[in-house]
Amino acid sequence: MANRIKLLNTLENITSIPTLPIVIERITLLLQNPKTSAEEVGKVITTDQALASKVLRLVNSAFYGFPGKISTITHAIVILGFSTIKSVVLTASFFDVFHKRESDATTFDLEQFWLHSIACGAAAQAIAKFLGSNDKEEYFIAGLLHDLGKLILCQYLPNEFNLALSNAQIKKCLFFESEKELFDVTHQDIGAFLVRRWNLPEHLQNTVLFHHDPNPSSKHFLMTAAVHCADIFVRALDIGNGGDTKIPEMSEYVWNSFGFESASLTGLLDAIRDEIAKATVFLHIT
């Protein structure tokens, strides 16, 4: 308990923890008004030229299905819709804030970490399609952000991060089990703290907080459970690495309610690998 309070206090007092660009908040506000036009949203995005150029690169990739066909932000909004554009901007901003921020204080392989995160986003998106959901971009972001807490630990509390890493190796356990044992705080808690601080939607707080233990009574159970499965499938396929080498337990409730018992997993695993191959564009976004 003492460790938990100490670590959370330390986290609260780190003033250098990054913020998301103001563009995200402005777009969120604009999209609450049904009369907002594509031009208005386009203007807000283009106030940040670096971000606008990343958004254009992403929407022109195979991942979004219109390779090389979209020339302006307004055109992108018209073709992809407000919701998708907001997801693209959030994704691009997340990479802007964290990608390539090296930490000399740890040997953690960040390239493998990013591959794991992107693959989880892509896998969550494939699971969304498997479940018949139309919210696939939100599932992608939820998967992408699920281990956000590890980035914060790695970059702002490297001593604690290294301790948890080596403890997980020695005990041959999962990273969150190691964190729980050492600090009584996990990367799920820390990631959810940052998602709240960023004022991101409640469903993202839930997926970050509960991705290792999706609760059937949760408001956002489907998305949380999809990220839970995405993490497990990606580990089992050996794509990237999030800091440990073990497979978390898949909830039996999720296994049954998603129909994994009766369905062949081959089609889903194919779809997951297909989405991951397209999502590798995010590795080269900066």
Binding site: A119, A236, K246, M250, E252, W255, L265, T266, D274, A277
Partner: protein, 93 residues
């Protein structure tokens, strides 16, 4: 050392055919596609070891079992293990 089975993409298209000679460059290219394991034939070439993308079905089973070791006693995880192992052997990944 050569490929013991063809390597297929997620949509079933053949990326590299069976019998293709292995090289470090091919290993890196496949790794970039998210393919981290391959089924191979012939003797091991020492210069390929550092790319660690080559694996036999038996070694794949051992490595997967190591990942699943803390949870394999759970019925769902046993089913998942079997599904993943068969998939990876079939797809040569």
């Amino acid at each position: 050392m050569i490929l013991g089975r063809e390597v297929c993409g997620a949509s079933g298209n053949v990326l590299v055919s069976k019998g293709s000679p292995l090289s470090a460059a091919l290993g890196r290219r496949l790794a970039n596609w998210g393919i981290s394991t391959l089924i191979v034939e012939g003797e091991e070439d020492s210069h390929l070891e550092e790319n660690s993308v080559l694996i036999s079905p038996e070694k794949l089973k051992d490595e997967l079992m190591d990942k699943f070791t803390n949870v394999i006693h759970k019925p769902v995880m046993k089913k998942l293990f079997v599904a993943i192992y068969q998939y990876r052997v079939h797809k040569n990944i």
